[in-house]
């Protein structure tokens, strides 16, 4: 999982305005100049010409200093890149261009942010980065199909031992790194060793919590066969091999693990083995990838697109304009309020697909007014979540009642309509919990005379979360709960909610992105109460027992009833007020073909995107 702050546009930032100094003109203008004297001093007109010329020179210099067409400059690159990139170019140029009407063209993808941490799978956990790593630049051992069942990728076959003590992968022997070296089991071993080495500080180290970490955990049986030992059985034991790109041993073996993060491999000159090879990265501006013509036919062969450009455009209005003026072909994750404009445009169409994140209000059960599950249920029922979805998401989303998303096999259809908007029932629950209205319409109090007041925090610059807090303020007031929305800067907010001995919040509007496997251990297990994400402080034996068991049940048919029980329990306990699963949107330009997206992400089918020949950009094929 990862936290999204969804900070959106930076337009909410306030910047001090440049101030003009007071007028400092000389009170005693100097006397009349003689013509001769004038000539010795550069005239204003001339200095203006000089200035204008220097701008032109700067522009021209910037325009010309880029080497021959289509090539990148190695100037100023770290030594590692100067050595590696020419090898990549040399290897890729030994292959023929694939023949066929679909092959060719440049796609431009526009998105709001950088690909944080770049193509180094060992240090990154960012969603966009991992999409580019796993579907474009690197290869994972496995992929998953639409039903989230594992399918072969770099691993041709795999076998999990009956007693779940180890898993053996047999790798393809026709995969090459973009510099021409073959990809082997030693690369997998290298990736595993580095990923499980604490020094590396691989963010997703917990992927391998159920494996035997370090050198003892791995056996290279031959160049293309590798066995990894499992320490404790886990239901989704193969999932890490879908999520983590394999990294090249021959390039990175000598880098100390603690320095992998800052190695130029990540952002300056990554070398992968996936269907797209790295071409260029300009900070905050763009990433360019080119087709890998050596990509194995058995895996679908080289991608149709010749070139792929990822452009960073930090403002959503600009992104929309660029989509409508066809300067970008795919607009990643437009906000719901732009959906009608994209739908109406002749230049683009809108794709909506289910996704893995949900938005909720996390409650701090340590607070006396929130300790009672009846109060939390009442809050959820007093919030008109349908209205929230319709208003904030324009209907592109689903009401949530637990953290298992509707596309997931473990989703419990039966709880879909639970806790529907019902203020009478909410009032009844609050009465029952001992919070009574002293007079109609007043804020409820309990027997000790405490008022039912809650502060709901959200982060700066996130309009959606602000709207949610304000809607809840209005709707909860109807049932006698006083809500105070409170905005806090993101890093400060994280500090307030994540620090176990601080927990300075009543409620917080926030979101989680789940992995393909759902595991709420860190959120709700009582052993994690004093860990950063034990926000709620909930300690419930039934929850603990289910979370412990669910980890171990490999058979989905066996697991489904337990998952149902767990979701029903969450409805009852409402540790969070689950709000909604937003659908993810994408704007797709009219020249694009084959753009399909699903819960696995925007880039899942990127090798099959294509552009009809007569609609391609003029240059660069």
């Amino acid at each position: 999982m990862s936290q999204g702050d969804g900070a959106g546009s930076l337009l909410h930032v306030s910047i001090p305005v440049q101030k003009h100094a007071g007028d400092r003109s000389d009170p005693y203008p100097h006397p009349l100049d003689t013509e001769a004297k004038m000539e010795t001093i550069p005239s204003t007109g001339r200095s203006v010409r000089v200035l204008a010329a220097s701008v032109l020179v700067a522009v021209v210099a910037a325009g010309c200093g880029e080497g021959t067409p289509g090539e990148r400059s190695l100037r100023g690159m770290p030594a590692f890149c100067q050595e590696v990139l020419p090898r990549v170019d040399a290897f890729l140029s030994t292959f023929e261009r694939p023949e066929g009407e679909r092959y060719g063209g440049t796609v431009v993808v526009g998105a709001i942010g950088e690909i944080a941490d770049g193509m180094n799978a060992l240090v990154s956990s960012d969603y966009t980065a991992s999409q580019h790593q796993t579907f474009m630049h690197l290869m994972t051992l496995l992929q998953v199909d639409e039903a989230l069942e594992p399918t072969p990728y770099l691993a041709r076959t795999w076998e999990v031992a009956d007693d779940l003590s180890h898993v053996t992968f047999e790798l393809r022997d026709d995969v090459f790194w973009h510099d021409g070296e073959p990809t082997t089991a030693h690369d997998v071993a290298f990736t595993y060793l580095r990923a499980t080495d604490p020094e590396t500080a691989f963010p997703n180290q917990a992927f391998w919590d159920h494996y035997v970490k370090g050198p003892e955990g791995i056996e290279v049986l031959d160049d293309h066969t590798i066995r990894i030992h499992i320490a404790r059985p886990h239901a989704e034991v193969l999932d890490p091999w879908r999520a983590t790109g394999i990294m090249p041993r021959h390039l990175l073996e000598d880098v100390p693990p603690a320095q992998l993060r800052q190695h130029p491999f990540g952002t300056r000159c990554p070398v992968g083995n996936g269907p797209f090879a790295f071409h260029q990265h300009r900070s905050d501006e763009s990433w360019t990838f080119v087709r890998n013509p050596a990509f194995p036919e058995a895996l679908g062969g080289p991608p149709y697109l010749e070139r792929y450009v990822y452009r960073i455009i930090p403002e959503q209005t600009t992104l929309l304009t660029e989509l409508l003026t066809e300067a970008i072909d795919v607009y990643i994750a437009p906000p719901a309020d732009q959906a009608p404009q994209i739908e109406a445009a002749a230049q683009a169409e809108l794709i909506a697909f289910e996704f893995r994140n949900y938005v909720f209000v996390g409650w701090n059960h340590r607070r006396p007014q929130l300790a009672d599950a009846r109060v939390r249920r009442a809050i959820t029922m007093a919030t008109n979540r349908r209205q929230v979805v319709d208003a904030l998401l324009r209907g592109y989303g689903d009401i949530a009642n637990a953290g298992v998303p509707p596309f997931h096999w473990a989703f419990h259809e039966g709880i879909r309509d639970e806790l529907a908007f019902d203020s009478d029932e909410a009032r009844r629950l609050l009465d029952e919990a001992g919070w009574r209205e002293p007079s109609p319409g007043a804020v409820r109090v309990n027997d000790a005379g405490e008022r039912l007041e809650i502060a709901i925090k959200y982060n700066t610059g996130n309009q959606q979360r602000q709207d949610i807090a304000e809607i809840m303020q209005a709707q909860l007031r109807e049932v006698g709960i006083a809500v105070r929305p409170q905005v806090v800067e993101w890093a400060t907010l994280l500090n307030q909610i994540n620090t176990p001995d601080v927990r300075d919040f009543d409620g917080v509007v926030i979101g989680w992105v789940t992995e393909m496997k759902v595991d709420d251990h860190d959120l709700f297990h009582s052993s994690k109460v004093d860990q950063p994400y034990g926000w709620t402080g909930m300690q419930d034996e039934r929850v603990d027992a289910l979370l412990d068991t669910l980890q171990l049940v490999v058979d989905r048919d066996e697991a489904v009833p337990l998952w149902r029980e767990y979701q029903e329990l969450l409805v009852e306990l409402q540790p969070y007020t689950y709000l909604f699963f937003p659908e993810r949107l994408a704007g797709v330009g009219r020249r694009m073909r084959g753009v399909e997206m699903d819960v696995r992400g925007e880039w899942v089918h990127v090798t099959r995107w294509w552009i009809p020949e007569d609609m391609r950009r003029g240059r660069g094929r």
Partner: protein
Amino acid sequence: MSAYVIRRLLGAIPLVLGIATIVFFVLNLAPGDPVSIYAAPNISPDVLEQMRRNMGLDRPVHERYVRWMGAMLTGDFGVSFSRNQPVREVIAQILPNTLVLSLCAMTLAFLAGILIGVFQAIRQNSAADNALSVVALFFYSMPSFWLALMLILIFSLYARNIWEWPFWFPASGMTSVDHAFMTPGERVRDRLVHLALPSISLALVLAAGIARYTRGSMLEVVRQDYIRTARAKGLPEWRVVLKHALRNALIPVVTLLGLYLPFLFSGTVFIETVFAWPGMGKLVVEAIFQRDYPVVMAGAFIFAVMVVIGNLVADLLYSVIDPRIRYD
């Protein structure tokens, strides 16, 4: 003169180091944590702790300060936490973008601002003067990001999709994606069309202010006796205005130039955001949000140096314009 410059520069060293020190401590003592962008469930606190160690954040603040100061004095700004890249490399990539944009914008702004200001002053209280005053105030009080969005709407979106002009401006970016495949001539054109909207939206706001200053200071100057003398001795009017009046009226404008000089390097986060122009403003603001200390420190250091240099340049320009100002 050179002795003066050296004296000023030496005097600036403790100032800049003082600024850097204050920024360092304010930043490091503020709440927030650079590794919190990685914080998530199933990411164990040990991993975050190790990240902090790898970034050198486990050391006490004073020790980090000494180390940072030592490295900075040798020109090493450290490695960016959020970009995993040496700060020097990042700035080497970003700073030229900002320079090109702000140099263009400032050139446009001063050219247009001075011309309009002079025109208004010599036609004082005419209909044109009043109209230009209104226009100047209109742009001066307009938030630049809004102006930028309007320009994009008109010259990019509407121009292309609704009015179907033969030519429209790109809404964002520094070059088009085909840039690498263009001939040198096309590349220059490509750069210029991408520069147009961002530099105009920056320049309009600046020019409005400059025009007001120029007009005010020109009005003061044209009433002076020596202007009457110049006219009396039969000099052509343009000569009186441009050579005798304008030169004396430029002193406050030069002050402005000194004030705007740091802006050449700092960029403006709004314009950069709206036009997807990878510049210093956005770099530093994002770094602040992500608690990317090395980048923020490098940014603060550069801006501090530029403020000092901007003031120095302005002071030196006074002596160029006004021979009675001497620095010995």
